[in-house]
Amino acid sequence: MVTAFAALMAAIRLGDIHSVQNHIANSRLDLNSVDQFDYSPLILASLCGHYEIVEFLLESGARCDRDTFQGERAVYSALNDRIRSLLLKHDYSISVDRNQPFVSLISSLWSKEVGCASLVGITLPRPNGDICLQLSRDESFDYYAHTFILVARSNYFRNRIWTGDSSLPIKLTLPTDLTPTSISLALRYMYLYDTDTLIDKSDLTSTENLALIFGMPGLFDARTTMEGKDRRQKRAIAVELAQRDLLQLWEDCLRVPLRINRNEQFSTEMLNRKLLLLQPDIILQVESPTGGFTYCYGAHKAVIQSDFISTAARFKEKFQSQCGDKSPVLVTVDVAPIIMETLLKWFYTDLIDISPNLALELLVAADMLLIERLKPKVCLIIATQDSRDLLTGDLGYSIFDVARAGWLTGTFPKLDPFCAKFLASHLEDCLNENGMLRHQFEELIKESATRIERRENTDTIELVDDIRYYLNERFRMRFDTLPMEMFLGLDEKPDGDPPNQQEATKPSEMLRTGTEEYTRLMMGFDKLLGRYSYVLFIRNTGKVANKQTNVSKRDWG
């Protein structure tokens, strides 16, 4: 594989389109993988200025998406404008394609070796018509595929596997009238691998056949219903289908966990048959919130994107395999079942389906389980709500929890502005002398200040700065809606025409109340800070105290 890829890259460097064509035709190369210099074939061809090869690669399924690093690189390194415009013409995602991560997840499984236990070997029909030539030696399979992908995406395989013997390892032999190309085509389709080319290039009847044989209505539809649509739309439809398939699988087989009593020992036989047939190679255990039960989710290591779970599985397998135990590895995860369910659904379908009141918990879980890619998405969920509940904590968590969670999980660049803005717009409530909020607000500012301590020579408290900024914004927005003359006339006595006076009064009144409100808030805020800095001043000595005095001076200056 490596050498074939290297040969392809060499041919691209030389601009030898014939060998490029040969390489691509003869081997199952991933046209979107990269070499040791992080060059993808497309980048290289674009950089070297081989227009024909760029064209050919694009036609063969090389992707050039502006929202990916590789895609950007190909466009920017293009040797001339001709190639650049060609690349841009093929760009699917000038508008951001939300499904891209899902596609790369599924298609990366195509060549991924992770989670071999969940693979199924597929045997090609033999030319002499002998169906069961296959012995059980693994390397003699023509193809490997993930059972759950097969089940999810093909009715044919679903029936075969569900009606089949559940003893492991599964192997499948196929009807004799299939050619390697058509099987490869079907598998590629299932894995969303080079889907576009497949849909565009394969001829209608063979696609139709495949769709019938393997029970993939989507593949057939892809051809017939999408006539006349452009590539991007076709692709979007294909991807959506795949996502729907996997969602279906998730709902059908994976979503419902096995519930056992807390002190009961898990064993594979307890799983339901459908799940068992999917050959889960990892069982994720979580405890019920009340503590009485343990929920066991069957899953596949191939899709797990948590470094914690993967490492734990690896760690434990070492000992398991020493004992010759081949059953799925058990990993206990310390999250609520609903969070686990959300995570798994996301692993399989790239869909996050969670109510805002659980979002913060999900964020913390993502941090604990080391799922970096999930964090920004959850942050987005958190930061797009605008409810006074956040203030009261009625959601299950308050704005102060959000800020702390941001600091804790390293997502503060995303969450801090949100918190500051929220606090700025609810500053009145926070400054209320009698409320609990004021105390919490003070505590938060103090915590933010201690964060400064760990950094070098920063003068101000981040949170305070941010709040000031958003406070300004808040009132500036209000002023901006007023007519310009208001500000001009503020100093002079407005003794213009009496008829106008009536109309002018209202905005100026607004301005006055606005200014008053702003001043009041600022003074209240300053007062709070003053008290707080005074407290700090007494408690700490030396450098920190000095720093705080500086802050204070500036703030009041």
């Binding site: 519930r259 919130p289 470094d307 000992f319």
Partner: protein, 828 residues
């Protein structure tokens, strides 16, 4: 069994689970759990540990801002552990390096030590891996935020500092020593445990000097490799000396090759591949670069021996070795050249010594002796060429089989051959003779391919010749004789040869030779047409079958064929009639041409009636003229002077022909009185009617044969003069051409240009060029620059035209004036 979590029991408001902020945690408690677990890992008892629990503990510690403490504690724990390992496991196995211990003991103790180091390293790696897994959150979050090196990296550096560079026991130094000792043992032919050494080397490769783990800061590179290279350098310096003392060249190169392979294998199987180029450089330096010359010069077995005895394998090995250190293999090339030149000069010496011995006796023996020596030298010339070709074959075979057809080496070979071939001044003549010989006789019965290969060989030698113009001259001379006398086997072969020359040096070299062929063809047609013409005349005259060859004077090396004298004679009336008739015929067809008859080149078939019977005799044209004088029944006998006046054949020719007619024992058709070898003016000749011969058809040759032989010294002198003259023209032309293009040129530059231009044909002598320049200055084609006497200025306009006019004139004169014809007659 299965149920949906949350479901009915889900409360709407949930506190964050296991609160982030509200759960208190003492560092000591948590650390106790963790450290116990880590101890268990070290005790290889980790299977019961709950990974999730430990991970969570570490996770919480980081959240509770105990990250720093945890980080330091873990590192301390690892450090402690490593120290204990060093003192408890490694120290007891440290080898003693006692000088008294036997090799076996040393090996055993070294092995034990390596094994324990390997064990310690593998334990460390395994445990560190597990610790890193457990502390993954610490690594990812804490180390990342605080820019601290990861647990893995610190763990490696701890191993380096606490095991290899332990304060109390210098394990690192021991390790180096043991490794080097083991390698030394292997070099001495012992068997060692490579895998074990390899794993220790892996260890050194996995450790870095600094925490940022730069590739060039591997402990292997900083601490081990240097020592290894120094030890190797030392070893191979001695090894080379030892080998030189005890081995012959063949063994030396074999051993050197073995050593190179051995070291390469060592880098692949025992130590790091990173060292491969460095150790190779050392071995190459010590075993090859420093000694290869000495080895090649070894008297009894060196390069000369290998060359002489066709030791292809050894030469190949030698070449491969030399190539490693010098891609041009200059050392081999120099010696190879010396050897070839030496062998070539041996061949030359055979010729020289022959000539020397003959030069002594020549004066006294006279003409016949000269003839004899000429015959012998012709044989010698052929032998010389064959010897050279044999040498060439031999060297080529070596070049092909042992030197992998190296282009550079080929150049050297060519240069060596050119050197000694040009060292022999007669080589152009010899080579031309060789071709002549082969075309005349050698090629009969050979296939086309064989013919081709012989000719190719000749071409190879031709390529080496520097003075191609001399060769051209000889070749033309030899060719003309072959053509006129009809000696060449086939025209195809001749033409093939000429086209080969053409490929080598271009059209100008062969144009005249091609002209010669053209003449021959034209002559054939002409003869046929003349015969037709005669038939049309229906003449009653006695028929003389005339075969005529009309040759263009410029194509043929006339002077060397005809000698210095002009040839005329008074033809007997029979011949004169034919001659006049042809001349008339020819001049009618080609008006304005001039035919000059060259009777000395012709032959005639004569049917002569003697008392016994009729014989058919082939004689030269001159001899025919003489014989015809006796054809008159009134003539009984003629004196020498009579004949001379009647025929006016030049005296030297006349003497020669009379000798062959009257003195040569088997062909005495004339009787001479008195009977003696020499011909005197007073001698009387008469027809020998009583002549008998065993053959009905025979030939009366002239004393001086017509075959191509080496030239006598006198002839050579002439040839040289001619060549000098033609060269002078070429040089002048070249000078004028150059100066015309460049206008002014420095003396040295001009010399360079001229030499460069002419070197394709011959190597001009600087003295000669200078003379030509002087001559041109005199004739005002050039002048010296007034300011710089070393610079020449070309004088333009009129003078230049004059020069070319002259040349053109001369050319026209030559072309228009003279066409020669040769006459062959046959009379009854």
């Amino acid at each position: 069994m299965a149920s949906k979590p949350g479901g009915a029991g889900r409360i709407k408001i949930r506190p964050p689970r296991r609160g982030l902020a509200n759960e208190y945690m003492r560092f000591e408690d948590a650390w106790e759990t963790l450290s116990e677990a880590l101890q268990q890992i070290y005790a290889r008892d980790a299977s019961n540990l709950s990974f999730e629990e430990l991970y969570r503990t570490a996770y919480k510690m980081v959240l509770k801002k105990h990250g720093d403490a945890l980080y330091n504690s873990v590192n301390n724990l690892v450090k402690e552990r490593l120290r204990r390992v060093t003192s408890e496991q490694l120290k007891p196995t440290r080898p003693t390096f006692a000088p008294t211990s036997s090799a076996l003991e040393r090996r055993e103790s070294g092995n034990r030590f390596l094994a324990s180091v390997k064990q310690a390293w593998e334990d460390h790696r395994l445990c560190l891996g597990m610790i890193t897994d457990i502390l993954m959150y610490l690594d990812r979050v804490f180390c990342n935020d605080n820019k601290k090196p990861s647990i893995q990296v610190v763990g490696m550096s701890l191993f380096r500092d606490n095991v290899l560079r332990n304060k109390d026991y210098d394990i690192g130094a021991d390790l180096n020593k043991v490794l080097l000792e083991q390698i030394q043992m292997e070099r001495d032919g012992d068997v060692i445990d490579r895998a074990r050494i390899r794993s220790c080397v892996y260890m050194l490769e996995g450790l870095y000097e600094t925490l940022d783990e730069k590739e060039d800061q591997k402990v292997y590179l900083t601490k081990f490799e240097g020592a290894f290279l120094a030890a190797s350098d030392d070893f191979y310096t001695k090894e080379a000396r030892k080998l030189l003392e005890v081995c012959d060249a063949a063994t030396y190169i074999e051993r050197a090759n073995d050593r190179l392979n051995e070291e390469w294998e060592r880098t692949q199987s025992t130590i790091s591949t990173l060292t491969e180029p460095k150790i190779r450089a050392i071995v190459e330096q010590r075993l090859i670069t420093e000694n290869i010359r000495e080895v090649m010069q070894l008297e009894a077995s060196g390069l000369n021996f290998m060359l002489d005895n066709d030791r292809y394998d050894q030469l190949e090995l030698l070449y491969d070795l030399a190539r490693r250190v010098d891609s041009h293999v200059n050392e081999i090339r120099r010696m190879l050249k010396d050897r070839i030149v030496h062998l070539g000069k041996e061949i030359n010496r055979g010729v020289y010594s022959f000539r020397k011995t003959n030069a002594g006796g020549e004066g006294s023996e006279g003409a016949t002796a000269e003839d004899k020596s000429v015959n012998a030298e012709t044989m010698l010339a052929l032998k010389w060429v064959e010897d050279v070709l044999a040498l060439k074959d031999k060297i080529d075979k070596i070049w092909n089989r042992s030197f992998s057809s190296d282009q550079g080496v080929q150049q050297t070979i060519s240069k060596a051959f050119a050197d000694f071939i040009n060292d022999n001044k007669r080589s152009p003549e010899y080579i031309s003779l060789f071709v002549d010989e082969n075309i005349k006789k050698g090629l009969k019965g050979k296939t086309e391919a064989e013919v081709d290969s012989v000719l190719d060989k000749a071409i190879v030698l031709f390529r080496y010749i520097q003075d191609k113009d001399i060769f051209e001259r000889y070749y033309k001379k030899h060719l003309s004789k072959r053509l006129i006398l009809g000696r060449s086997v086939s025209n195809d072969v001749e033409r093939a040869m000429i086209s080969k020359f053409k490929v080598e040096v271009g059209y100008s070299f062969t144009s005249k030779m091609e002209g010669m062929f053209k003449d021959m063809n034209v002559s054939q047609d002409l003869t046929a047409e003349y015969k037709k013409h005669l038939a049309n005349l229906h003449s009653e005259e006695p028929t003389i079958d005339l075969d005529i060859k009309v040759l263009t004077s410029t194509f043929w090396p006339w002077s060397s064929m005809s000698g210095e004298t002009t040839h005329t004679c008074i033809y007997p009336s029979e011949l004169e009639k034919v001659r006049a008739s042809f001349q008339q015929f020819y001049l009618r067809r080609h008006n304005g041409r001039q035919l000059t008859w060259q009777p000395q080149m012709g032959t005639a078939d004569v049917r002569a009636t003697f008392k016994a019977r009729k014989y058919e005799i082939n004689v030269a044209t001159y001899a025919l003229v003489i014989l015809l004088q006796f054809n008159n029944p009134e003539v009984d006998s003629l004196t020498y002077n009579d004949i001379k006046t009647l025929t006016s054949i030049p005296e030297s020719e006349l003497v020669r022909h009379l000798q062959s007619l009257a003195v040569a024992p088997r062909t005495r058709v004339l009787v001479k009185q008195p009977m003696s070898r020499d011909v005197k003016p007073t001698d009387k000749f008469s027809f020998n009617a009583a002549f008998t011969s065993k053959q009905l058809k025979f030939k009366i040759g002239t004393i001086k044969g017509v075959g191509n032989k080496v030239e006598t010294d006198r002839e050579r002198k002439e040839t040289e003069d001619k060549i000098d003259e033609s060269r002078a023209h070429l040089i002048e032309a070249s000078i004028v051409r150059t100066m015309k293009a460049r206008k002014t040129l420095k003396h040295s530059d001009l010399m360079l240009q001229i030499t460069d231009q002419l070197s394709k044909r011959f190597m001009p002598d600087p003295g000669m060029i200078k003379k030509r320049i002087e001559s041109l200055i005199e004739r005002e084609y050039l002048e010296r620059d007034a300011n710089d006497p070393n610079t020449y200025v070309y004088l333009v306009s009129i003078l230049q035209n004059v020069f070319f006019d002259k040349i053109r004139q001369r050319l026209t004169v030559f072309q228009g004036l003279i066409d020669f014809a040769l006459m062959f007659g046959s009379c009854a």
